[in-house]
Subunit: 457 residues, 2 copies
């Protein structure tokens, strides 16, 4: 540790912001397995992916050798509107916990989309625009991704069509209105507007939808319409690439003050935040330059890394998407209705799945009442009301800091604070009223999900 | 203008943050009129104010000669958690408008309270704590102030009791839950918990409350309970003093890049933001060092500066508070039910009222559909979804920028972006659905308010 005084918040100068994204795949010995064509089970080619994603994004998706990919100037200019995001020293939390640990968090909630999702949304929208497309389609669950994409599309003058999981559409009308304010059209999914939506409604009338369904609808909406492509806010390699801006900024800020994190913690749903935060640090570990202890935190109610299978699986319910090799609970898995917030996707990013399988990081589950307890404690001392997703990381950061208190170790902890919880007050209300419950799926319930896994030779 | 390249956001170093608040009254030739005892109509003394406010805050309220008042170190440390706030160059808005004007905004929404209110909340809570009090009481309407105060009290371990205007309590359950998450108790006002509340309910059964009622209840709750004091988020001299941190930071940031604003614009309800933003600039104008064009923007539905009387009036409905000389619509005035957002207080800060009466600033009204139009336009290009209150300033900033487009003038415009609109999506939904209406009170309606003004010799 340096003797330099560490400010509450470390902001980088615009000139210190990254000019390239970092592609961690380039330094992985075991590359993530390729996407497979769901019919032939052969690796998806550029040409096969082209009708779904923009050309440039397909290239990024398939590129596992180029370590640094330049961030186009237009995207860097947009980043400047809300980045660099602050790296905050949690002095107040440390004092509250009376821990010798030094806690830092990279705060990605200081833009109106309210989360880190904007980092990839603007990139994907930019490439769509550059290719001369009219618009993009996507799905959203808790709403962070849809909000971010709407904002990015508004900025670039692209049409944006969001399929929003029906239960969220109804329970989160304000999220919906934010997207509409940014000019997006928002359709509750499953809907009558797509073949796959109609099929799902026929089979499951009255269903409140799932991310898997909404993905199927959004993909169909893109591929059946001239000038549209599909975009996704997590899981994909390209998303982790764009999100590496989080880790790159964090690393530059820490290097500036000679701070070396011992433990790096991120919440993990599809992996967009965790992958982005850890990428440059993981790169050092892969190249043998430095060691870090990485911890992925997932909800006990949706435990893809800790209790899932590492296997090829469908990315969507309608089974129209390519197969991805990932830790998965099966494409039919839907977390219990009492699960609040995001982190509800059945699978995990293939990059993170491979890194986890190679023993390069730890994964841990936490239950949601413990998560909201940490969220409330954090809010009261740090003055930021965190998103439920982010609070998974807070929970484990506090747990690790309390271990340091027992052992007297002065570990440096870095975690990703991905966003704010302004749109999650229904969940906070439940917690405030003592009405929040935990849920851990039984082995039998998980088995039902595994039974639906495709057989891939 | 300097040749230095202006970044999107100008952040100050922690070392550049103000160490003193600036008290604009010290440089006013015509001082704001003193608060009067509602019974004797004599100026309120320190001893008379002591049961209502903390000692140190009474001193600040009465001090119209000390120009710089040191910010205690503990408050400066809290400020560091979310300040300095960014001064943003609205490059994207300028481009969208194709205006030669240079537009800057000081963004105060990047803390979880979501607005500038925290600047005074932490100061008032700090002095209460220092005096060894148990807690504070207050009122809140749209909820920004209650949220900020709850956060400040949570941080300092003070009890916080909020009387929330009943209609907001019911229509903004999420605001309520944020306050509860920070540990505050929230009571819908008028309530049965106070004498004045019971009296109002008896006279007006079924009333949905007003700021004036909630103030009366909060004052009674403080003065009838051992170890409590009342705190207020606007109007008072002390609040403008604390909020001067906004203007001081803005001025330091602009000076750093040799930028001189021609026009400075702020929304005005009770005056907390406008007063804070303009204070140091107004000081220069009062001392004859520099000239600026100040514009106060208020809703057409609550036009205290533009259509009110400059007279002594009650600050609350229950008439238990001191009288203040201010531009007022009468303490019985309640804006039309279709009015969205805050800026609904019947009077204006005595400091700003005096400055306005002395011809030192302009005031302008805007109608709410035009305000939301500006809000949406701003959100789409600048990536921040603004609070309805702040959007009043955006409206006039855009209007002024468009005038520059006509004349070709390269004016520099600075406006205060006081907060985010996350909790105002019901109003945005109305606007998005084309269901928002405007309302301008008739002269007869205003006359009813003026008829209730007290007679003060």
């Amino acid at each position: 540790m340096s003797a330099k005084e560490i400010p509450y918040k470390i902001y980088l100068e615009e000139s210190e912001m990254p000019k390239d994204w970092y592609n961690v795949r380039a330094h992985m010995k075991n590359k993530p397995a390729p996407l497979l064509n769901p019919g032939t089970h052969k690796p998806m080619t550029f040409e096969e992916l082209q009708p779904v994603f923009c050309d440039e994004l397909v290239k990024q998706e398939l590129d596992d050798t180029t370590a640094y990919i330049p961030i186009p100037e237009e995207i860097r200019n947009f980043y400047k509107m809300y980045r660099p995001s602050p790296l905050v020293r949690a002095y107040c939390l440390e004092e509250k916990l009376q821990t010798p640990a030094k806690i830092y968090y990279k705060f990605e909630g200081n833009n109106t989309s309210g989360s880190h999702k904007l980092n990839s949304a603007i990139a994907q929208a930019y490439y769509a625009r550059k290719q001369g497309l009219k618009g993009v389609t996507t799905e959203t669950g808790a709403g962070q991704w849809g909000t971010a994409l709407s904002m990015a599309c508004a900025y670039l003058g692209l049409d944006c069509r969001v399929y929003m999981v029906k239960v969220s559409y109804e329970q989160k009308p304000f999220r919906r209105e934010v997207m509409r304010t940014y000019g997006a059209s928002v359709t509750p999914s499953p809907s009558e507007t797509t073949q796959v939506g109609r099929k799902i409604l026929e089979r499951h009338p009255g269903t409140t939808g799932s991310l898997g369904c909404a993905i199927s609808e959004a993909v169909e909406a893109a591929t059946s319409r001239e000038g549209y492509r599909y975009v996704l806010g997590s899981v994909l390699n390209q998303v982790l690439l764009h999100q590496s801006v989080i880790g790159l900024e964090a690393k530059t800020a820490m290097d500036k003050y000679d701070i070396k994190p011992d433990i790096i913690i991120g919440c993990a749903g599809g992996g967009s935040n965790l992958g982005g935060l850890i990428s440059p640090f993981m790169g050092e570990k892969l190249r043998g330059e430095q060691d870090y202890h990485f911890i992925a935190v997932e909800p006990a109610s949706c435990p893809s890394l800790t209790r899932g299978r590492f296997a090829y699986d469908f990315c969507d319910t309608g089974m129209v998407c390519p197969l991805a090799k990932m830790y998965t609970l099966g494409s039919g898995f839907i977390p219990s209705a009492n699960h609040a917030g995001g982190l509800r996707y059945h699978g995990m990013s293939p990059v993170l799945s491979q890194l986890y399988d190679d023993g390069l990081m730890e994964a841990r589950t936490v239950e949601q009442t413990a998560v909201f307890e940490a969220a409330q404690q954090f809010a009261r001392v740090e003055g930021i009301l965190p998103a439920p997703e982010s609070s998974h990381a807070i929970r484990v950061a506090i747990d690790e800091a309390m271990k340091c208190k027992e052992t007297g170790e002065e570990k440096t902890i870095l975690f990703g604070l991905t966003g704010t919880g302004y749109f999650d007050m229904v969940a906070y209300e439940k917690y405030n009223n003592g009405e929040m419950a935990d849920y851990i799926p039984t082995d039998a319930e998980l088995q039902a999900g595994f039974d639906g896994l495709p057989v891939v030779e």
